[in-house]
């Protein structure tokens, strides 16, 4: 049975909140999480001919597949693709402070941030410092290299090593997909 707007709307009402939390825990930003949620549902609708299922649970599983792709695409491109949203002409306003805080709360981002801070503290000083400059202060590699008195190539390599080390440390605390949309 083809996916209808009615069924997708029903799934949205039941799961939009979980999708926002899912995205927020992966991109660490409430605004982006809402954009990704919108793009996921809009993309599902524009590609509804490709849906092979019947129940609402089938739709949810399919949507999480789209969501995984959206997250991957975001990390590759550094921005949220909004093709489907643009095609449908879906608009949204900016989040209020209250909504921002609520999404962070839903995604338990604050505890995760505290965990990241703690793990950064525990990392070798060389790793912690370069992550602070590049990731927290968002400085260009050239500036990071100048601050640390190293070449830009070395700065890139160090950031890469430090991020991998941080990822290993955070692995036990990252959400599983089942946990995030239960």
């Amino acid at each position: 049975m083809p996916l209808s707007a009615e069924q997708l709307s029903r799934v949205y009402d039941a799961h939009a909140r979980a999708f926002v939390a899912y995205f927020a825990r992966r991109v660490y930003d409430a605004e982006l999480a809402v954009d990704l949620t919108a793009e996921t549902f809009a993309s599902a609708f524009t590609h509804r001919d490709g849906f092979r299922g019947e129940s609402d649970d089938d739709v949810v599983r399919w949507l999480y597949g789209i969501a995984r792709n959206e997250v991957g695409q975001y990390w590759r491109a550094g921005r949220v693709e909004q093709r489907a949203v643009a095609k449908l002409g879906v608009e949204r306003r900016a989040l209020t402070d209250g909504e921002y805080e609520r999404i962070e709360e839903l995604a338990a981002l604050e505890p995760l941030r505290r965990r990241v801070a703690a793990e950064l503290e525990a990392m070798p000083a060389e790793h912690a410092e370069i992550l602070r400059l590049r990731v927290v202060e968002e400085l260009d590699y050239g500036v990071v290299a100048a601050r640390l008195g190293i070449s830009e190539q070395t700065a890139r390599a160090r950031v890469s090593r430090a991020l991998k080390a941080l990822a290993v440390r955070l692995e036990p605390y990252l959400p599983t997909e089942e946990g995030s949309h239960a």
Partner: protein, 415 residues
């Protein structure tokens, strides 16, 4: 739908409503465009979506030419912190002038999603005493713009295109404003001016065809299809005291007109190869590229290696010319537009100190082309049949004529 679903996150409630409206409009549009019998079989049961179906039908009505359009959120003005007094009109001074310019995309709008609303001019006095003007469209009495998504959005009073002070023989504020679209065919350019004391007539020339613009109270307004650089636009203003002004709009000296499409552009650049060697190139490209990623664009180049680019000891040629018919696919690779058509291009570079005139004959006519800035030139023509005489004639400072016939690439020196 229960209202309390997203009590703590109204943004999700609003996003859901926007998605539902868009999905319903899309389904209604798809059903309407299918053959009736097939549409009856496929038409979804809307249930609680019924209210949004109305929105979809409104969109269909707009496409049919009525003035009922989909609406989007109003466009806010700049924050007070960012707005300069000279560019901030006083709200109580704002008025929409009676001038109207019909949307030239009428035929496009009738078959597409873009509603056809007339263009209008809103003027007001700024806090610094200047006259400010904004170009927009009128939906009833509301002043705003229709976006590429076909939705009308009212524009806040703080949005202005320009402000200025009246002076003899010139409008206080004048300009051209592009209303962009996904395809160059649907873009529109609005030409406007206000605060021109004693202005009698305004005449717009579009690809050589003169068109009088309506003038009222020192203001004028007109709209044409396409981007400003595509149509060889010229504006002539005549004042009561006999003063006349005449100016080209939206062009640079490097703009090359296409006979039936978007404008081209010819450029030159030099680069150093080594301490004693340089490379000098001329390239042809679209004035405004299409939607393809830039890495797919391939611009033709003519280059020459030189000891020095100019001056004594230079071994650079005095001319580099190419003349040939590019296929539609080749033009698409240059312009980034999928709907590109085949063109005959005659283009290149001449040393200005040696060659005084360039004439390109293609098919029925011969045209003296401008040599710009560093000597670049180009003529873009509809495909010239191979049997037709395609010639590039270079006239040197001493009167010698160098005739380059047919298709090819040439590079040479004059005596």
């Amino acid at each position: 739908m229960p209202d309390a679903l997203f009590d703590d996150l109204p943004i999700l409630e609003e996003l859901g409503a926007s998605l539902r409206a868009a999905m319903a409009a899309e389904e209604a549009s798809a059903a309407a465009s299918a053959p009736q019998a097939a549409a009856r079989r496929r038409r979804p049961r809307f249930g609680w979506l019924g209210s949004f179906l109305v929105l979809g039908l409104v969109g269909t009505a707009a496409a049919a030419g009525t003035l009922t359009v989909l609406r989007g959120s109003p466009i806010p003005g700049p924050s007070a912190r960012d707005a300069q007094p000279s560019m901030t009109p006083k709200r109580d001074s704002l008025r929409v002038l009676e001038l109207r310019a019909p949307d030239p995309a009428g035929s496009v709008a009738a078959g597409g999603a873009t509603p056809q609303l007339p263009f209008a001019l809103r003027v007001g006095e700024s806090e610094a005493g200047q006259l400010c003007a904004s170009v927009g469209q009128l939906d009833g009495e509301d002043f705003g713009i229709v976006g590429a998504d076909g939705r009308f959005r009212a524009m806040d009073a703080g949005i202005v295109d320009g402000c200025g002070v009246s002076a003899p023989g010139a409008p206080a504020v004048a300009g051209i404003r592009v209303f962009d679209a996904r395809s160059w065919r649907d873009a529109r350019t609005v030409i406007y001016g206000a605060g021109a004391t004693n202005l009698n007539t305004a005449t717009l020339t579009v690809r050589g065809v003169r068109r009088p613009l309506e003038v009222r109270d020192g203001a004028y307004l007109g709209a044409v299809l396409g981007y400003p650089e595509d149509s060889d636009l010229h504006l002539r203003l005549e004042y009561a005291d006999g003063t006349r002004t005449f100016r080209a709009l939206g062009q640079t000296e490097r703009t090359i007109l296409d006979p039936a499409g978007p404008a081209w552009r010819v450029d030159s650049f030099g680069s150093t190869i080594s301490r004693h060697a340089s490379k000098y190139c001329v390239t042809l490209r679209a004035q405004r590229v299409g939607l393809h990623p830039s890495d797919r664009l391939t611009n033709p180049e003519l280059c020459a290696r030189a000891g020095r680019i100019t001056g004594p000891g230079s071994i650079a040629p005095d001319y580099m010319v190419e003349a040939r018919t590019y296929s539609a696919a080749e033009v698409a690779a240059i312009t980034g537009r999928d709907d590109a058509a085949s063109r005959t291009l005659a283009w290149g570079w001449v040393r200005r100190s040696r060659i005084t005139r360039v004439t390109v004959a293609g098919g029925a006519d011969a045209v003296r082309v401008r040599r710009e800035l560093n000597g670049e030139f180009a003529r873009v023509m509809l495909p010239v049949a191979s049997a037709a005489p395609l010639r590039v004639v270079l006239t040197t400072r001493t009167g010698q004529r160098i005739v380059l016939r047919g298709e090819g690439r040439w590079r040479g020196r004059t005596r």
